[in-house]
Symmetry: C2
Subunit: 317 residues, 2 copies
């Protein structure tokens, strides 16, 4: 019996977990990322939390796995984030090995989420899946033939930047019409704030859930208001769902996976999101191109990447 350590480094939270070799979560720490602390703060906390997990482990810890919330060059096991200072081309697996004396494997959070669901969640026992995380941004990961498929530049599964509209607003990536501009958490919050300007009388519940200011409407508030049946919030989510459906048709046409698994905070809207997604998929379907790809929600919730990190650790244990 051996255990492994799994780490999920995100922009707002980071988690460290102790897992057994069947992927059962034994212990987990969850804290806010201290953004202005940068890389050095993060590595320091990471070392401390991993050492703590190791002390608590009843069996020897054999390896570590890391899900990183940003681009990773899997081949070279380096973080390639350009946005977070200090992380550019950082050899995180090598650092882990030197700091903790454990072999380690690193991947980005979308691939880790796909792997987590594949090994321990809604993708158990199937051959192929596409995992899509609808969060502040939109990420995705592919499993083909039982393995994470990363593509030439570790860029496979960039679902958030599928061009889904002829026109569309400018995306943070620099292109136009990206899915992310229609149904990411950021886009949904933006739609809420637009409603607040045009129809202030309709956004009372969203404003209340966002702390009282219409300028501060959050995606979480829109999602929760929609789940409660609020009219304006429901319309915002339905519109997002329509664009998501178009991206899903695209994914199904190209990959035709066994399952598409939706995760991330936006899916907490539940059936308010999923019902119109299914309706739009029906509308966009072609009778002559039948497929049996299933659409399901992630089973591991916000922990898909952490479980994926455990799976990465088990690969090198």
């Amino acid at each position: 019996m051996n255990n492994v350590i799994a780490v999920d480094v995100g922009g707002s939270r980071f988690r460290v977990g102790l897992f057994d070799q069947e992927g059962h979560r034994l212990l987990v720490s969850d804290e806010e990322t201290f953004r202005s602390g940068g890389r050095d703060w993060m590595l320091q906390r990471l070392r401390e939390q991993c050492q703590f997990m190791r002390q608590k482990s009843d069996y020897p810890v054999q390896a570590g796995g890391v899900s990183f919330g940003g681009p990773v060059d899997f081949e070279r096991q380096r973080v390639t984030s350009l946005h977070a200072p200090g992380w550019e081309s950082f050899p995180l697996a090598q650092w882990f090995k030197e700091a903790l004396g454990l072999p380690c494997r690193v991947d980005n959070d979308a691939n880790a989420g796909a792997l987590g669901e594949y090994r321990f969640g809604a993708g158990r026992g199937i051959q192929s899946l596409v995992y899509i995380t609808l969060s502040t941004g939109i990420g995705g990961g592919l499993i083909c033939g039982g393995k994470v498929f990363r593509g030439k530049d570790s860029m496979a599964g960039e679902i958030g930047h599928l061009p889904v509209s002829d026109s569309g607003v400018l995306c943070a990536c620099g292109a136009r019409g990206c899915l992310e501009t229609f149904c990411s958490g950021s886009a949904i919050a933006q739609r809420g704030r637009e409603w607040a300007v045009r129809r202030p009388e309709a956004v009372a519940r969203m404003v209340e859930l966002s702390g009282g200011s219409a300028a501060d409407i959050t995606s979480k508030a829109v999602v929760q208001a929609a789940a409660e049946g609020d009219m304006a919030a429901t319309r915002i989510i339905r519109e997002a769902a329509r664009w998501l459906a178009r991206a899903l048709v695209t994914v199904i046409r190209i990959v035709n996976p066994d399952r598409v698994i939706l995760g991330g905070g936006v899916t907490q809207a539940g059936s308010v999101l999923l019902d119109p997604v299914r309706e739009s998929l029906d509308e966009l379907a072609s009778p002559s191109i039948r497929h049996s790809t299933e659409l399901v929600l992630a089973e591991l919730g916000t922990n898909s990447p952490l479980y994926g990190a455990a799976a990465l650790a088990l690969e090198v244990a």
Copy 2:
């Protein structure tokens, strides 16, 4: 030393080839498909041509491979075409085994084309590719990790039915805005005929190449006129290229393959097609999502599926 037989069954032509175990083509027959002869005619000719190839072979023939121009259930090795009478759920590999006493493997022409280019053409030595054939219709096949990836329902790579436009005309598949309605051979011929109505003075060369009647403008004529520099034909191909580029961005975002390989008759437009495809890819690119996927033309021309059939035969030889 052993040889194999490769068969390419298409709607307008069918080819039978004798290949050695390195995939060299030793002999090939190429004839028109007698459409009204249906399945029985085809199987009869197929048996005769295969027997002929066998007699001509200097070494024992070990197996057969078939590329079929329509949907195939690869798992069950059955043709599942709904359009061609007599082919529905037909066990073609089993027929081959019984008729010729040879093991046989069957796949659809898009997957066979991908496999052909991967083993013997523009995809040699790489790990992943997407093959797209721009012909009367548009098909596609995926190679991931050195293997054909077929998806849940043998439907992976249905590039022709990617929804690329918000609006768009109705596609033969029943959906709207499919790539096939913008840059298939049929769509290109249709655009030529539309020009003939609006701007009869501009379509002289296309009409000439189509045999003299504006109502009969063919995609081949548009492609050839464009390759010669004809203004109207060039505009038609450039417009098709713009939509193709959007589909290519989509494919690259989801699969990020080592290479995208373009085949089929429409690519005979050459740089008149490829230059604007590359320009549009540049326009649609995002500086923050860099990829190094290469765009190349098929090396085996219209023979990609036949070579793929040889590769299928070598798998079971």
